[in-house]
């Protein structure tokens, strides 16, 4: 698992979401913080080894009025990771809750830890 960086092709400002990545016995879990994005605007793509999370929310002025302080530099997010070879591309589960996208990528069968029982003869 490695991060892929590079220029964005989008012509509007995008942000890099904060991510937690941790390994479990069965695979890798990625948690992306995507605050303010409706669920329907979250896109997850897998192109060969590149896992891409992108949001396409409509960022029009929500309430109008005058902005006094702005600390969110953009509304949409994008970030890419390259999956390592021992991850199973066919088994990726996604879930969404309170602005956090969770992706679970299983390890390929051959990369799963195997318990080898030792028998004393």
């Amino acid at each position: 698992m490695a991060e892929k960086t590079g220029e964005t092709k989008r012509n509007e400002p995008v942000r890099t979401p904060l991510v937690d990545i941790f390994e479990t016995g069965e695979g890798i879990v990625l948690q992306f913080e995507l605050p303010g994005i409706p669920k329907d605007s979250v896109k997850v793509d897998l192109d060969k080894d590149t896992l891409r999370v992108e949001t396409t929310a409509d960022c029009g002025k929500a309430a109008g009025g005058e902005t006094l302080l702005r600390e969110f530099d953009a509304c949409n997010f994008t970030r890419e990771f390259v999956l390592s070879r021992d991850l199973d591309r066919e088994h990726i589960a996604a879930s969404w809750s309170d602005g956090v996208l969770t992706l679970e990528v299983s390890k390929a069968a051959e990369a799963q830890p195997r318990k080898i029982p030792v028998t004393v003869s």
Partner: protein
């Protein structure tokens, strides 16, 4: 008008040099705030805010993804709005093998002085998609009024 920083200019990522500059700025910010090595110091974070104002309302938005509404506490004392809360880390993650840990957990508190007096009995707070939105009605005397200029 209270002390609020000037709003950031709309910058665009179509200039790669600007996004590089942002990236470098972020590195410096992270370093000097103690968040270097990609590991944020525990219990040291404050959500990003957006504050906007209409003729009759002041709207504050805070980015607090992954929280539950019951863990957020909003209060107004005079002209100061305080947002407090605690973002709990799922305990099952503790023993896992981390590859990257950028999200911040723990308690936070952030106070902001409001640009005008608001009616503390007419405040609503809602939480959705990881964003806390607080809508406050301005007090009658601080609402914008149009004054007609008469020609004599």
């Amino acid at each position: 008008m209270s002390l609020l920083p000037k709003k950031k200019s709309d910058r665009t990522d179509s200039y790669p040099v600007l996004s590089l500059r942002d990236e470098v700025n972020r590195l410096f910010d992270d370093f000097f705030s103690g968040n270097w090595l990609g590991v944020p110091a525990r219990g040291q974070w404050a959500p990003a805010l957006d504050v906007s104002e209409t003729d009759s309302q002041v709207i504050v938005k805070a980015e607090v993804p992954g929280m539950e509404a019951k863990d957020i506490d909003v209060s107004i004392t005079g002209d100061v709005l305080t947002i407090k809360g605690e973002k709990k880390e799922e305990t099952k993650k503790e023993e896992q093998n981390y590859h990257l840990m950028e999200r911040r957990y723990g308690s936070f508190q952030r106070g902001i002085s409001l640009p005008t007096s608001v009616d503390s009995s007419k405040v609503t707070a809602s939480y959705g998609n990881g964003v806390l939105t607080i809508t406050m009605e301005k007090k009658e005397h601080s609402k914008a009024r149009n004054i007609r200029v008469k020609v004599e």
